[in-house]
Symmetry: C2
Subunit: 467 residues, 2 copies
């Protein structure tokens, strides 16, 4: 018995699974958003060893409901308000299906010209769609590439910055900076990239980096013999979607000879609507930039869009050329070999899902969805502002609403726990820089509408302690 | 117009695309293995801007044939003999479909218990299937995790080794070692991880690392005040599938206090057949290990299996705990949070395709396929050995055949070019350490059988210059 699956079986079971996925999206709204399994419960349903002989695929499909579903956290529920969204959409799922079917390895242009060229083209489309600097197109000095996650993109930027800095100093002396509200991936990426010094710069009342404190830290580090090499501006922090002063930070970076990376992992998608671009003023002063279409552009993870203003230092840092990867097209210089744009060598055909999604919605369809999410966030913000029990802790710049109970941490924590335990919505309990509790409501799942946010407000209204 | 796709449309177009994928596999054998497009030809078929309004999905499907297919390199052709295989299979494709449908983010156990637990379970299944050390199970002190690629896995190992070493020395002094035949990802990973010193150690006549030269290099580096921190053993190099003396290197690493990483990216899958495990003798002396089920275990990229013997230094290196990721289950210590096992935070449900594939084939089904590939490689080896025009350049230990024309580089290069230009097979022209040309024939595409290798031999026989 060699097992596996015939072409006819693939047709049959593939179509069953298409229906299974469609059924899932039809019912997900009615499911408790988070599972109730205890640690180890899913593994306990699995045999201790792999089977020796083949198992019927019908049984495998049955196990999706028996084994897998009890352990699924429903990121695709329209009642998902936790973290940031990690969106899927039907066109993107079909892009993943075709990508898996063709099973390309796009490490070199020649190992899959379509993977490379459609990716470059999608990255260039996004430059126009989001109002990013024209120089970032692959047809200019810069270029975009799909990475797995913003963590990978930021780590790559940190590595290039370190590589440039280590030409003039010991690795021990290189310093990276970000605001105290920057995503954990900045500090983690710096540690991974070998930075021994990471400075979390203080923020203003709106949780945006204070450039004066950045300058102070740089001066202090230079005095100590260290080399400031990298600074990250956030356009939309994870805690409260605060926007750092990108232009001011960019000017400091220029004058100090530092690499300036901009992390717009979540908020970048909103820039497809011109009215939000005020928040990315100064991007032309960035050396690199990341935003995640897999968060709020209805494209399945993984699809992190990483841009550089100048691709040369990136490629010089990451290019290694062994004989089995030498190639006439590469040597001609006429093509992009994306293996030199990130750590991994192999790469999937991830641009397909972006292409499918952008075409299936159209730019206007995506704008409409994002504006609906933002409008729902503003309506919830207004309800919270009009209720004496609550106070906002940050302005609602995009579609994240950050608030707390006026009586402090215990009623705030209780409210978050009650909503989450109800299974009818899922939000994130978090902490402000000072340690106070607050609640993050992130509105952005593909199928979330005003209706779902109204239901969430009803829950909050019912479950909150009186003031 | 908001665009996108209804559930009914998803059912309809999803089933069309299932058939499209099945049709592709039915015809791929008859297609020229590599495309003939020139650089820029695919992009020239795409409009300069994303559409404003939605486009009918039927047109998008038509564009797969019109735009995408001319730029596809057929990694899934049974006539694919280039690089190493990058295999797909029908069960794995369906695993990807379900994974895309559920669209989980498995960064924490709680953000998708099923993603985490099925992944841990599959990694533990593989320990038994491949005869890996029992301590590497997640139920022991070690554990396995799926990363994107062997490059990512090796980079992670390099980072942990560097983090341990930098406790006692300057980052400038840390040294990594691998054989001159190790994969480019070792040197690249070392550079990315901030190693200023990488030593390519000489090899023996079979292209395996010489431990005596490793010891010499270590002594010399210590004398120069440097700190040997990391050494990589290859089980199956990329050039010729040479096997480094893992046990001897492991003993050196132990006595020198170095991190010992084993790269079995390609050959690791073969260990499901006990007769190959002689080549992994000494694995219990490894600190970390990588093999890629996405190469030769019929599981779609990306699925790189990374193991550590002790998970503590890994997690200590990579864990960062911001408030929005704090979580009761994590704090209980009863669960694995895989975000702390690699650079990215977000992660797909990649274990599904492993689960589907292992169950659909069964262990014996996978063994049968691998043994068929190895038998075909041995038959080709025998034909080459029996022909005065050819000489092997390395033994056929697995399913890679490495040979050249006895008259040197020009007839070797010509033969490779002729076969590749025929479109009837695709192999890799490479260079030996001394710079001589040779041909790599890697037999391992999921659907490759003896028949395809016989046809390849006919091509070689016809196209080779006389001796």
């Amino acid at each position: 018995m060699t097992g596996g699956m015939s072409s006819d079986e693939f047709r049959r079971y593939g179509k069953e699974l298409i229906d299974w996925v469609a059924d899932y999206y039809e019912k997900v709204e009615s499911l408790p958003v988070t599972p109730t399994v205890q640690p180890g419960a899913i593994r306990a349903l699995l045999p201790p060893n792999a089977p020796e002989g083949p198992e019927p695929f019908a049984e495998i499909i049955e196990d999706l409901d028996r084994v897998v579903m009890p352990g699924i956290t429903h990121w695709q529920s329209p009642n998902w308000f936790a973290y940031f969204p990690g969106d899927s959409s039907f066109p993107a799922i079909l892009g993943e299906l075709v990508s898996a079917g063709l099973a390309q390895q796009g490490m070199l242009w020649s190992t899959s010209p379509a993977t490379t060229e459609i990716e470059s083209h999608m990255m260039d489309w996004l430059v126009d769609l989001l109002g990013l600097p024209e120089a970032w197109k692959t047809t200019g000095p810069g270029g975009g590439v799909i990475q797995m996650s913003a963590s990978d993109s930021t780590h790559t930027a940190l590595v290039v910055a370190r590589q440039l800095a280590q030409q003039s100093t010991s690795l021990d002396n290189i310093v990276a900076y970000a605001s105290s509200q920057a995503h954990s991936s900045i500090e983690k990426g710096a540690r991974v990239a070998g930075y021994r010094h990471f400075r979390a710069i203080g923020v203003d009342d709106h949780f945006a980096m204070r450039p004066d404190l950045l300058v102070e830290a740089i001066i202090s580090d230079r005095r100590a013999g260290l080399l400031p090499a990298f600074v990250c501006s956030a356009v939309g922090t994870t805690g409260t979607t605060a926007v750092d002063p990108v232009r001011a930070i960019g000017e400091i970076a220029r004058s100090e000879g530092m690499w300036h990376h901009v992390d717009a992992a979540y908020a970048g998608s909103a820039m497809i609507c011109p009215e939000f671009r005020i928040h990315q003023d100064g991007l032309e002063l960035a050396d690199s930039y990341v935003f995640n279409p897999h968060k709020w552009m209805f494209v399945n993870f993984d699809a992190s869009a990483f841009y550089v203003a100048d691709r040369r230092p990136l490629i010089e840092t990451l290019s290694i050329l062994p004989p089995y990867l030498q190639d006439a097209a590469s040597q001609s210089g006429a093509v992009i070999d994306y293996r030199d744009w990130h750590v991994p060598l192999g790469r999937r055909f991830r641009a397909l899902k972006l292409w499918f999604t952008l075409r299936s919605y159209g730019a206007e369809g995506i704008r409409t969805k994002i504006r609906e999410h933002v409008a729902a966030a503003r309506s919830l913000t207004a309800q919270l502002e009009g209720d004496a029990r609550f106070e906002l802790v940050a302005p609602t710049l995009f579609a994240l609403v950050s608030f707390r109970h006026v009586d402090g941490d215990p009623p705030t924590d209780r409210l978050a726990a009650r909503v989450n335990e109800s299974g009818r919505a899922y939000l994130t309990a978090s902490k402000l820089p000072g340690g106070s509790s607050f609640i993050r409501i992130s509105i952005g799942q593909t199928n979330t509408t005003q209706h779902h946010v109204d239901e969430l407000w009803t829950l909050i209204d019912e479950m909150a302690d009186p003031a």
